[in-house]
């Protein structure tokens, strides 16, 4: 988003859309929570859905999403565009994605820096890619295609990874910064992914964040992780989305929010899904941090005036 490079048409449009999501915390939308959510009435907060779950022609998934869209901002999160693969994007899938954006007018639209399809096999996981000039060019080309299709900027999410590629010639943060600069896309900063990757690859998460192009971040993700061991018996973190956000990740989140302001923040929980009140409490904890940051920013403004 920084000046200096030719912005694409998509970059000229605002990052956020109707049903204001500014400064809000949200949660993954799980259909089993719908009755509890409706019983409470409209809430302050937003919901994020995985785009692919709403790519059927009709039926209950669309009823549920329409219901939640009436009273809340919604974020559309794609998980299988396979932007990081060398092969061409699946045009039928891209068309389905565009149709969802048109139909539901989500406040945010995001996808992953990863791949999931090779030739005709879909692996249903976010798989890693090497960071080279060649992969940079192909990722930028794919993001251009997505943004042309949806006619608005995409937020690209940083991955959590367990392996690195010997052929990589640049750091992940350099790669992501170049993608944002060349395509005008925004970024979805997954703070848990930063912590997981930092632990797994032995770098400092704060160092990573200091190198991350924070001015392009339009959304933050938080999630729980699990612990395993690598071949050397040392800690290997798994991006499992199956529990509460870890204390260390909350700390990193506060650091990010202090430096970039109250960016819309989502608590993801995709497996071993708890009762609504537990997930809601996680979002409330994120909201409290966003609100505190907002209040501090306001008081600084007053002091300056």
């Amino acid at each position: 988003m920084n000046a200096g490079n030719q912005p694409t048409a998509a970059a000229a449009m605002p990052l956020r859309f109707p049903h204001s999501i500014d400064g809000l915390a949200g949660t993954s939308f799980k259909h089993e929570h719908l009755p509890a959510i409706l019983a409470e009435g409209p809430q302050r907060g937003f919901f994020e859905v995985h785009a692919e779950n709403y790519m059927g022609a009709g039926g209950p998934p669309h009823r549920a999403l329409e219901t939640i869209c009436r009273d809340h901002p919604v974020s559309l999160h794609g998980v299988c565009m396979s932007i990081g693969a060398p092969q061409p994007l699946d045009q039928a899938h891209l068309a389905r994605f565009r149709n969802l954006v048109e139909r539901y007018q989500p406040a945010l639209v995001s996808e992953h820096l990863a791949w999931s399809t090779h030739e005709n096999t879909y692996f249903n996981d976010l798989l890693p890619l090497p960071y080279t000039e060649t992969t940079l060019a192909q990722v930028c080309d794919h993001i251009d295609q997505v943004q042309d299709a949806i006619r608005r900027p995409l937020l690209l999410e940083n991955p959590s990874t367990y392996v690195a590629f010997a052929e990589s010639t640049m750091s992940e943060t350099d790669f992501i910064r170049s993608v944002a600069r060349r395509t005008g896309c925004g970024l979805l900063l997954d703070v848990n992914n930063v912590f997981v990757s930092a632990t797994n690859h032995g770098f400092s998460p704060l160092q990573y964040l200091s190198e991350f192009p924070l001015t392009s971040v339009g959304e933050i993700h938080l999630a729980g992780h699990a612990e395993q061991a690598d071949d050397e018996g040392e800690l290997l973190l798994i991006d499992s989305h199956d529990g509460p956000v870890a204390d260390a990740v909350w700390k990193l989140f506060e650091t990010v929010v202090e430096s970039c302001g109250p960016i819309p923040t989502l608590v993801e929980w995709d497996s071993k899904i708890p009762d609504w009140k537990i997930l809601k409490a996680e979002a409330a904890a994120a909201q409290a941090i966003l609100d505190r940051c907002q209040a501090i920013a306001k008081s600084k403004c007053h002091a300056a005036a």
Partner: protein, 263 residues
């Protein structure tokens, strides 16, 4: 298969993908841990994510099959299927169309000959769940048709409507095993036909009387009401036309009637 242009850099996905579904193959040499660490357990995280998430996807499509076989049996059967036939679409609700045929040939399931039909009905159930929305035909719309015009009527099928035929009691088996209520002993040897519809939000599965499947399938293939009733009566002389029409309207199987003259 889509012809892919040879990309000079395609190697990293090809190499990485080659061992994902095959535990016998080595960790790809292109990947490593930091500072010279090994990557076997690290790569296994991806292997595990792929296989476990796809097993979960099949379990979500086929909950009654999983309940009947038990989780361990289902996971082993699903794992074999995933290795033989991984998904080709990113839409997981499209995955597993070949699973019923796989179950039919799966040697450890041979003592459950009705299991494949159970899976077929569950597959139809999910397709009905995601089918396009449409308002079902009302009883009043049909009641307004003069008697002498009834035999020539044609029907437009609701996008969700499907017929499942089984040499076994697959409809009863699915109905009993989709929930969590205790299941009584079922005589699996009775042939059954089922009608799967989604009149409004919820998918409905009902058993059809003898001749009922032929009747509805005839209407679905755009034969007239009179022709469909005649076909059903050939299957079963006790076929009750009025009751079957009422049943299919109640189930929301059709959305429109077209008078024979409009043909």
């Amino acid at each position: 298969m889509r012809q892919l242009e040879q990309h000079p850099h395609a190697s990293y996905t090809a190499a990485f993908a080659s061992s994902l579904l095959d535990p016998e193959r080595a960790t790809p040499v292109a990947v490593a841990g930091p500072a010279g660490k090994r990557a076997d357990k690290r790569y296994n995280v991806y292997r595990n994510n792929v296989t476990v998430s796809l097993i979960d996807a099949l379990a979500a499509v086929y909950p009654a099959v999983q309940r009947i076989t038990g989780v361990d049996f289902f996971q082993a059967m699903a794992r074999s299927h995933i290795r033989a036939t991984p998904p080709s679409s990113p839409l997981l609700f499209e995955y597993g169309r070949d699973f019923p045929a796989f179950i039919e040939k799966y040697e450890y399931a041979s003592s459950m000959p009705w299991l494949a039909d159970t899976a077929r009905i569950e597959r139809a159930w999910l397709d009905a769940y995601h089918a396009a929305d449409a308002e079902p035909l009302t009883p009043a719309a049909l009641a307004a048709v003069p008697r002498e015009k009834l035999a020539d009527l044609l029907f437009t099928t609701h996008p969700a409507t499907q017929i499942g035929r089984s040499r076994f009691s697959a409809v009863t088996i699915v109905a009993a095993n989709r929930g969590t209520d205790p299941v009584e002993r079922i005589d699996a040897s009775m042939p059954e036909d089922g009608l799967i519809t989604r009149p409004h939000c919820d998918v409905v599965l009902r058993r059809l009387p003898p001749g009922g499947a032929t009747f509805i399938e005839s209407l679905m293939s755009r034969r007239s009401l009179g022709e469909a009733a005649a076909s059903a009566l050939e299957i079963s002389s006790s076929f009750d036309i009025a009751a079957n029409i009422a049943g299919m309207i109640d189930a929301g199987a059709f959305i429109k009637i077209i008078s024979g003259e409009a043909r």
